[in-house]
Symmetry: C2
């Protein structure tokens, strides 16, 4: 994993959350639990705690982050993670990868608007088509299906 130098594969997934972790750690050291919460705030709804901790250990083994126990505050001991220089280098590589995803998404939605024009009118019988116009306010009632 951490799929290194020249082979920047396109499929996201773990490689999608990875840059977010590194970016968060580039600003301030965090422990796993905090990280999990910040990632949720980013939009990752389904980060598995167990796998997150495992991933962090892997990142440490790969020397993209380093950790030390933090027994200062109250509550159980926390393993505080910091980014390494190698981690910073990789963050830049991952950012390039994410740019690719972004342009793919742009292409997708560009084509998708044409799709909507074709299909939305004829599908008005099925489930109520929410107005997908430029009315950004109402994003909430799109939870059908």
């Amino acid at each position: 994993m951490v799929n290194n130098d020249s082979n920047q594969s396109v499929n996201p997934s773990k490689n999608f959350v990875l840059p977010f972790i590194l970016l968060l750690l580039s600003r301030v050291s965090l422990h796993g639990y905090e990280l999990s919460q910040k990632l949720q705030a980013f939009g990752f709804k389904s980060i598995d705690q167990g796998n997150l901790y495992r991933l962090l250990r892997k990142l440490e083994a790969d020397e993209l982050v380093s950790s030390e126990w933090d027994t200062s505050g109250n509550g159980p001991a926390k393993r505080k993670y910091s980014i390494t220089k190698a981690g910073i280098t990789y963050l830049r590589g991952y950012a390039n990868q994410l740019e690719t995803y972004q342009s793919m998404l742009d292409q997708f939605f560009s084509m998708y608007s044409s799709f909507l024009e074709l299909y939305i009118p004829s599908f008005s019988s099925r489930d109520s088509i929410e107005k997908k116009s430029n009315d950004k306010r109402r994003k909430d009632d799109g939870k059908e299906k």
Copy 2:
């Protein structure tokens, strides 16, 4: 897979390429080989042919697409895939998911610009950092075996 009901999980990967497949098929019927090429044009550099064909069969089993043999043109017989009504419904759901990814990427790059301002000046000689210290790591992850 094709995670059937309302649980639109956030992690991409197979779910990242899926909407692109459905979107392409929403415009015109295609066979796997064509699909593979169009996906590459979209930016998917590393679509595994074998897995793509397997995925298409799975999509057919899930009734998001349907297929029929096309023996018309020259060359070997092609399995021509078309999107179904269920596939169209799912395409809309996946599009919503991709919107989430898009906003996550926006957040990422917004924060990443700040990162660049902090790190780029001091990291102008990045090659020394990259080449140092982690040779064994970059060998054995991602492409070993």
